[in-house]
Every structure is written in C-alpha cells, then in structure tokens.
Assembly symmetry: D2
C-alpha cells in the first residue's frame, strides 16, 4: 500500500488457524480492527474517555477481498489509510501483506461513523482534526 | 429475507460481547459461516470427504452491512440464499435478524469458489447439483 | 454426572476447531462459562443489574481435565453442580460429555467468588439463596 | 518467575476484552499456549513435521489461578518453566505478569503428554533432549 498512513506488524498464532491449517476468515477482521485501534490511539484517541462522553465509533460496512491465506507462524504487516467519505462517514482503506515476501493477503474497506447513544452522528474534535489532512485533495 | 432457502437460530453468548456490551463485529462472520456450513451439510456436503478429494470451498470476498448490534442473551435467525454468479463463483446472500422483533442486524454477501490445492477452480458434482435450481431461470 | 443441577446442550461449530481438527483447549472454557451463565440466569441472576450494584462474579481458579477431544459437528452436554466451599467461595463442578455415546470429554472445577469493585467479598442475596440448598448436607 | 527458561511479551488487544472491560478468562489459555508454542519452536520443534510423524502434544490437565485481571492495551510477559513429571508426562509452569509493574496476573500448571494417533504415549527424541536438563538432578 503506497500511501499508507500507518502500519503495524503481527504474527499468526497457532490457535488462530482452523481445520485447513490457515487463518480463519473472521480473524482478519480482528487483525484489521487491532491496527485501526493502534492507529487511533497513536493519534490521541482515548476510547474509555470517548465512551464516557457518549461517543461511539461504529463500523457500518466492511468489504474484504481475500487474496491469499496466512498460515501458522507467518508474520504480516497491516497497512492503513483514512479517508473522509461524507460529513459523517469515513473509510479505512486497509491491506494485510505477508512480511517475508510482500504477498498481498487481504484488502479491505471499512466504513465507520461516530455516533451518540441515540444513534445520531456526532463530530468529536479529535476526529475532525484527524480527518482534516485526509480530505485535502 | 423473503426468498431464503435455509435458516438456523442461535443465541448470543456472553463471551461473544466486547467492551461496549455488544457482539464484536468479527463474530458475525462466525455466525454467517456456521449457517453456511449447516446449510451445506444439510445438502450432503461432507467437508472432510471434500478435503480428502482435494476440494476447498474458499471465500474470495465478503461484504457486510452492520444495521444494528446484538446484545448478550439475544436470540437471532440467520437466513441464507445461494446464487450462481459465474461458472466458478457463487454467492451466499445472508441476513441476521433478531428473533424477538425481526430487527435486521446484518446483511451480507459472501462470494465463494471451489478450488483445488493448486488454486484452480474445480466443479464438484455436489455443488453443481446444489446450484442447478439456484440459477434457473 | 449423576447429581447435576443443570445441563445444556451445544454443538461444535467448525470455526471452533484448530489445526488438528479438534476443539481448541481454550474453547472448553467458553462452553463451561456459557453453561454457568445460563444456569445463573435461570435462577434469576441479572448480570447487568448485578454489575450496576457493583457486584462481580469472579473466577479465582479453574482446573480442567481433558479426557477426550470433541470434533467438528459433534453435539455435547454440559453438566453443572454448585457447591459452597467457604463463606465467600463456591465451586462449580462441571462435566462435558458427548451426546451420541456419553463419552466424557472434560471434567472441570471452577472456583468463584462475588467481589465489589474494590476486590472485597460481597454476599448478594441471590447467591445466598442459590447456595443455601447446595450446602445442606 | 525466578527460574523461568523462556519468556515472551504480548499486548492485550481490545477485541480480547469482555463486557466488564477485562480480558476474558479463556483468553489466558491462548496466551499461555502461544508462549509454549514459541518456546517449543525455539527448541527445534516443528509441529507440522511432528504431526506428519504421527506425534501429538496433548494437554491432559490445566490449572489456572487468576490473581488479577488484564485490561485493554496493557502489556504483559508470559514466563515458562518445563519439568518432567513422569516418564510420559511433563508440566509447564507458567506465569503471566503485567510488564508495567510486575503485577502477577495468572499462575498456571499445564500437564502435557506426547501421544500417537491411537492415544498411546510416544517418546520423540526432540522432547527427550528438551526434558533431559529439566529433570536433572
């Protein structure tokens, strides 16, 4: 991913593999989520404090293309780029690539919104700050 | 889901909920997968035997729209409809709805293909039989 | 388990199996926990309400003997018996048996206590009521 | 753990936490297993090759004392010491401690054996070599 804003490295743990000896499809969502949370934390997001203020970051849609499976013990990098979609929706473009040889494993598009407990969109300052550079053309 | 071919019922287990008291996004993939496997088994698919013959059913793409979260203890129904996309790709249309009030929770589109260990498409007889009524007219 | 007070039935889901085609060891803790929660709910425990009152049920020790592995698709029964250990500790005796043939899968002993947020023991009325018959010799 | 033979460091991921904001009890088994597998791999164990030779490492009993919960984002160290119990059984003594302040989180005893597919004990050379120093004197 050429224009990634963030990446983190992980390793497949044996218990994450299924009957066929490969990482179960749902696991990749965990890897992708973990990378997003690390990115947001690195940009000053404090989830506990946001929740206390009644702000929830919600995934509204996810699209994942599975290109190649990961196997036990393989190391991989999760890349991430944030883009504003509309005033209230933003999208994380993410890719997982094997570290060894750069083999693309998964490409994903994760649409997210910030909501209050009543399900109405909210505009937390931290998010506006984070998205500002991401929208400039 | 009006034209569902199959459904099964499940219940949210407490350990499936996350920090916010709702089912973690990745869990829905488990629910959706479990329903597909029950459906295929009900149609005579024997995964162990297929694997022994060198046939793998692979998810190549998944799209999930998250409409409403499930909470601990809630019961839900997973609906499923199978459609042929191309000669080698087929898609499971799936919905999860809360049993209590029918609230739509998740809508998904799961693109799948049958592959041999070399990653080439294969056409297992069981699958052709299953897809035959799904494509007409 | 001859003197079980409660049981519930479940089925192994494919995604719960690991590389060796058997249920991963940690999964049995989920099955055991789910059975305990169903038992407690059946006896009027409302976890959300307990938490709101500042009461946490905490597992302080677990012992599990693994007798035989479960495989994909197998149905099983989780048995449970509650016993008071001391004034503040109680133990769940649990067994998992395959439904088909009664094969013992797992035997467990789960020591539990009720605590307040400061980690001090508390004595919720619901628990005293539940344990009363369990201690009578 | 003063006499640990091996340790590895990990970090709690948000999706590993439950309703109460703490790591779910069953997750610690995953952490403990991952550390054992890293240790065995570091000592030349190749699980795929062992399985191909018909050798399975089986956990027969686990005991876990839960001392203190881990929370989202906390880093921890898993310590490990291997001891021979009998000719065919060996035990992993394990501890999880928070990295920040050394707070003991979990203490575990994991009894293991090597079996062939018929459930008979086997004595793989790699294991004898690994256990040799662990039994003397």
């Amino acid at each position: 991913m050429q224009d990634a804003q963030f990446h983190c490295d992980m390793e497949v743990r044996d218990y994450e593999c299924d009957l066929q000896g490969i990482v179960n499809n749902a696991r990749y969502q965990h890897y992708l989520e973990h990378a997003r949370h690390l990115f947001l934390r690195a940009h000053g997001f404090d989830f506990a404090e946001l929740t206390a203020r009644g702000i929830y970051l919600i995934v509204t849609r996810i699209e994942i293309d599975y290109k190649h499976p990961l196997r036990a013990g393989e190391r991989f990098r999760v890349h991430l780029r944030l883009e504003r979609l509309t005033r209230i929706r933003f999208v994380f473009h993410q890719e997982i690539a094997r570290l060894d040889d750069g083999q693309l494993i998964v490409r994903a598009r994760v649409v997210t919104a910030a909501m209050n407990p009543q399900g109405r969109p909210v505009y937390p300052e931290e998010l506006e700050r984070l998205l500002a550079p991401a929208v400039s053309p």
